[in-house]
């Protein structure tokens, strides 16, 4: 039953064909079977998961009205706080910390009766695109265990792709949901900035971070998105307004007459051949469904990567200052006579990995007096230009599209010594974050040259997340009928019983 969609599991639960306890146990068994090789989870909370499942089963048998996702298991990126459950953000500096509070996202999923199986691996503080930067070792791509699942939400993506969980939550600061979704052959959505509360999301870059859903289908992803989104008074940047109905949109699947804009700057040179081929085919599919395909020009996107690698490090250099060994987490060097200052410095050196330190130093530099205008200030202006490019493009098209990532999953270690090469992998996803809009990645097939999944990215204006699901749903259905099933059904069995 673990290879079904969340929507199908929900139906089975409602019909009484299975209990949440059985479903949860089946996923816990799958985790025991395959996670030694995938390493998607940092912490499995079997006890808590089974207790929540039992509660939902009891509520169901007492006739209580339940959310459609009640009783469905989920994997949670270790960047969101869950009361009493170890939360590390993939960093040694938070080793052993048990949050004293639930993030708003966790409160919402608990309230919906969703069962949290555990916390998933990630690049330390979400800084990375391969999950290799985790202090607790890398996660492996279920499609090819010698490759990375992408990142930073690699653990969540791998868990869904490996059938360890039907749903997962990640966070996306520069593509950290969409890129791993692409590399593991699943669906991932980065919602509009401000649509999902950041309260309890351990901050990497406050103005870019947004938590979002992973699923194996567009509809499953929409069901989870619907639970997560909504106004939160605890997050001052949370949008207070009417949220689009993403679940209906995922079922609408009607692109007739829609204008779909292909971003000139996000294709062609630098994109793997098989990636470009699957992308082009998907465009043809959409055209055959009645959409009009046009090309749009976003000249400022050329500078998006540079702007991102100034803004995100700047904000992170400040956000990560709180990890100082005083109130929680790691403390190193607290020996006789050591000063607080020395202990802070020693702890931050021992507790942060190379990539985190690199970005903190870069951020401190970009904000420092004398350099602010040239770096941080300029980057914030580039951001304005990117917003303007999007505005012009959305005046011509209902949604914009591109390949999600320039390549399919790369080998573990392939780029870890070349930060620039790693950063270049985010080129297509970053503009969405800088503009605060929403984006989806869904499977577009397998690249011919390596047989690995390719992601198709859809972008829509802020608070038009429903467009992603409508277009994504239509493309997914058309591709599934071509392939005779969802792409994920082609994923390797990983030895365990699916």
């Amino acid at each position: 039953m673990i290879n079904q969609t969340a929507a199908a599991m929900s139906e089975a639960l409602v019909k009484g064909e299975v209990t949440s306890t059985q479903l949860t146990q089946a996923h816990l068994d799958r985790i025991s079977d395959v996670d030694t090789s995938v390493k998607a989870f940092l912490h499995v909370d079997a006890e808590g998961a089974l207790a929540q499942a039992a509660r939902v089963d009891a509520d169901r048998s007492s006739g209580k009205k339940l959310h459609p996702l009640a009783g469905i298991p989920l994997a949670l990126k270790d960047v969101l706080t869950q009361d009493g459950i170890p939360t590390t953000a993939g960093s040694k500096i938070l080793q052993g910390w048990k949050p004293q509070y639930d993030s708003t996202v966790v409160s919402k999923i608990k309230e919906a009766g969703i069962v949290i199986l555990g916390k998933t691996n990630m690049d330390e503080f979400a800084m990375g695109s391969s999950t290799e930067n985790s202090a607790y070792g890398p996660t492996f791509n279920p499609w090819d265990l010698s490759r990375t699942p992408g990142g930073s939400s690699g653990g969540s993506a791998a868990a869904v792709s490996a059938f360890e969980a039907p749903l997962a939550i990640g966070s996306d600061t520069g593509g950290s949901i969409r890129q791993p979704a692409a590399l593991t052959g699943i669906v991932g959505v980065r919602p509009t900035y401000g649509a999902v509360s950041r309260y309890g999301l351990i901050a990497y870059s406050s103005s870019l971070d947004q938590a979002g859903p992973f699923g194996r289908t567009v509809l499953d992803t929409a069901l989870l998105h619907d639970v997560m989104a909504g106004h939160d008074p605890k997050d001052a940047t949370s949008i207070n307004g009417k949220f689009p109905d993403v679940v209906s949109a995922a079922q609408k699947r009607d692109v007739k007459g829609l204008k779909i804009g292909v971003i000139k700057q996000l294709q062609g040179e630098g994109y793997q051949k098989g990636v470009q081929a699957r992308f082009d085919e998907s465009l043809q599919v959409l055209a055959s469904l009645g959409a009009e395909i046009i090309e749009v020009d976003c000249p400022s996107f050329e500078y998006a990567l540079a702007a991102y690698y100034l803004i995100a490090p700047s904000e992170c250099s400040s956000n990560l200052a709180r990890f100082d060994a005083m109130r929680y987490g790691l403390r190193v060097g607290d020996s006789d006579g050591a000063s607080a200052e020395a202990v802070m410095s020693a702890t931050r050196n021992a507790g942060f990995g190379h990539e985190v330190k690199r970005r903190i130093i870069l951020g401190a530099y970009a904000l420092s007096s004398g350099y602010y205008d040239a770096y941080y200030g300029s980057a914030q202006k580039i951001r304005t230009l990117i917003i303007q490019d999007y505005a012009k493009a959305f005046a011509q098209a209902d949604v914009l599209v591109s390949p999600t990532a320039p390549t399919t999953a790369f080998k573990i270690g392939e780029k870890s010594n070349d930060p620039i090469a790693m950063y270049l992998g985010d080129v297509a996803t970053i503009p969405v974050n800088l503009a605060g809009i929403c984006g989806m990645s869904l499977p577009a097939g397998l690249a011919d040259e390596d047989g690995l999944p390719v992601g198709f990215q859809i972008m829509a204006p802020a608070m038009c997340d429903d467009r992603l699901y409508n277009v994504g749903g239509a493309l997914e259905a058309a591709l599934a009928s071509q392939w005779g099933g969802h792409l994920i059904s082609k994923a390797p069995a990983l030895g365990g019983s699916k």
């Binding site: 949050p99 004293q100 406050s206 709180r322 005083m326 109130r327 929680y328 802070m344 401190a364």
Partner: protein, 502 residues
């Protein structure tokens, strides 16, 4: 080396700059819903936000914004149609996020002024202090330094942190440089802080208790040689926590700078700490390697763009400005300058006005609060407001005296009783059995007794030597234990001895 203050101001012209931090009296903290109540058990007023737990986010307290705008308006400031919070980044264990949410180049209020009046050699003179900005920020936690010789920060073995105060809303009021105060610099600074305190109290936005730290002053002082246009190097004296200390600290710094300059030495640009016991400052952190705070707009908070109509509403609801109020009261009560200044200095204006509002005559109300009651307060080393006596009590006492039910002397006993916590004036009168003896029969008996005891003196009065009556009146008063109305005794005595009453 020692140089007198007069010599300092003859040679040098002081330039001031004042930064006042005010803790707002909101119920909850600046960015979270923890209580701001003073003196709670350690770490009982903390939450994920003010402990800077991973993932927690700030949300601005609406009343803190309103209070800050009110302060800006009361200080004649412009209110920015658009302002933002910024992060000031530096590491300090008292500050959980290791950045302070403050405001940088977009403060909510700017370009204001405060006028203060100083009693100078040429009479009352007004000085205008220009306010550069009023902005919002948050307070830090408190550290307790354990071990070491002095219990001070240096030499402590370790520290204990309590974050109850972390995140209390603070408003910082920064003046432009204040030139041209000459020898009155210390008094002008004191008057400015006092005026601010009165304004803030009038607005009801802060407890303004300097001794509890809810109003703290940092004083920047520099000297330039008389006639020079070049500003000298300034020192910044931190956390001066009483009006008297403001005056002392500035005077002390002026002398210290002058001594350095006279000796051909340089004044160091540095932070100094005021020592309450000696009245001197000691050197703190040198500012030569100024910390790079890497300010940038706080991404977790959105801009503040107050509605113009709302600002007007707040402006209309502002209370009377203290300086205008003083002018009005001076006129209404018909008080001379010196008396008015005395009331302001003794900080009894509010309480006198409250007493007058309750029906007491301004002169009497003033003389009680400034006289007898201030004397008691001085003896007890407290302020008059801390005594158990209220404006209502004083108004009642004044009324009793007016009705002839108390003499001035008896009234002082009643005040003493009220202050001692014996109850309201009526209760004290009842408990102590205080009453004016105005029963003529009883007085006549006493008069007859005294005249028979002092026949010679009585005869002198009968012979028309009126001043001799004083001794007899005194004896009668003694006989009646001071409870008689002396005027009535005089009347009856003179009549008894066959003399005209007037």
């Amino acid at each position: 080396m020692a140089i007198s203050y007069d010599e300092v101001v003859a040679k040098y012209d002081p330039v001031l700059g004042l930064e006042v931090h005010v803790e707002l009296n909101t119920e909850s903290k600046m960015f979270c819903s923890c209580s701001t109540v003073f003196g709670g058990e350690p770490n009982t007023q903390t939450c994920p936000v003010c402990l800077a737990l991973p993932g927690a986010l700030p949300v601005v307290n609406a009343r803190a914004i309103e209070s800050t705008i009110k302060i800006g308006l009361a200080l004649n400031c412009q209110i920015a149609p658009y302002s933002r919070f910024a992060r000031k980044n530096y590491f300090y264990p008292d500050m959980p996020k290791n950045f302070q949410i403050s405001q940088y180049d977009e403060p909510i209020c700017f370009d204001g002024y405060v006028d203060v009046e100083i009693d100078t050699d040429e009479g009352l003179k007004e000085f205008r202090i220009e306010v550069e900005r009023v902005h919002m920020e948050e307070d830090t936690g408190k550290s307790l330094h354990v071990g070491g010789a002095t219990g001070r920060i240096h030499g402590a073995d370790y520290s204990l942190l309590d974050y109850n105060r972390a995140g209390i809303p603070l408003v910082e009021i920064v003046t432009k440089i204040v030139p041209g105060t000459g020898k009155y610099a210390p008094e002008v600074a004191r008057a400015y802080v006092a005026e601010l305190r009165d304004i803030l109290r009038g607005l009801g936005v802060s407890d303004v208790k300097m001794e509890q730290g809810s109003l703290r002053c940092d004083a920047n002082v520099s000297l330039k040689p008389m006639g020079s246009d070049v500003l000298g190097t300034r020192s910044e004296t931190k956390n001066v926590n009483s009006l008297r200390s403001v005056e002392r600290a500035i005077r002390g710094e002026m002398i210290r700078h002058a001594e350095l300059l006279d000796a051909g030495a340089k004044v160091k640009q540095e932070t100094r700490h005021f020592q309450e016991d000696t009245g001197l400052t000691r050197s703190g952190r040198s500012k030569e390697q100024a910390e790079d705070y890497r300010y940038f707009p706080e991404p977790d908070l959105v801009p503040v763009a107050p509605d113009a109509a709302w600002i007007e509403e707040l402006r209309k609801a502002l209370p009377e400005r203290p300086s205008l109020r003083r002018k009005r009261l001076k006129q209404e009560w018909n008080v001379p300058d010196k008396e008015m200044a005395a009331m302001v200095n003794a900080d009894v204006l509010d309480i006198v006005e409250a007493t007058v509002v309750l029906g007491a005559d301004p002169t009497k109300a003033r003389s009680w609060w400034l006289g007898e009651i201030s004397r008691i307060a001085n003896d007890k080393e407290v302020s008059v407001t801390e005594l158990a006596i209220t404006p209502a009590d004083v108004a009642e006492i004044v009324a009793l005296v007016n009705k002839g039910e108390l003499t001035d002397k008896l009234a002082r006993q009643v005040v003493e009783g009220v202050v001692a916590g014996e109850g309201t004036p009526a209760e004290v009168v009842a408990k102590r059995g205080i009453k004016v003896v105005n029963d003529d029969g009883a007085l006549m008996a006493a008069i007859e007794k005294v005249c028979s005891e002092q026949p010679d003196t009585a005869q002198k009065v009968r012979d028309g030597h009126i001043p001799a009556a004083g001794a007899l009146i005194g004896a009668v008063m003694k006989e009646t234990k001071g409870q008689a109305d002396a005027a009535r005794v005089r009347e009856l005595l003179l009549g008894h001895l066959g003399q005209p009453v007037n």
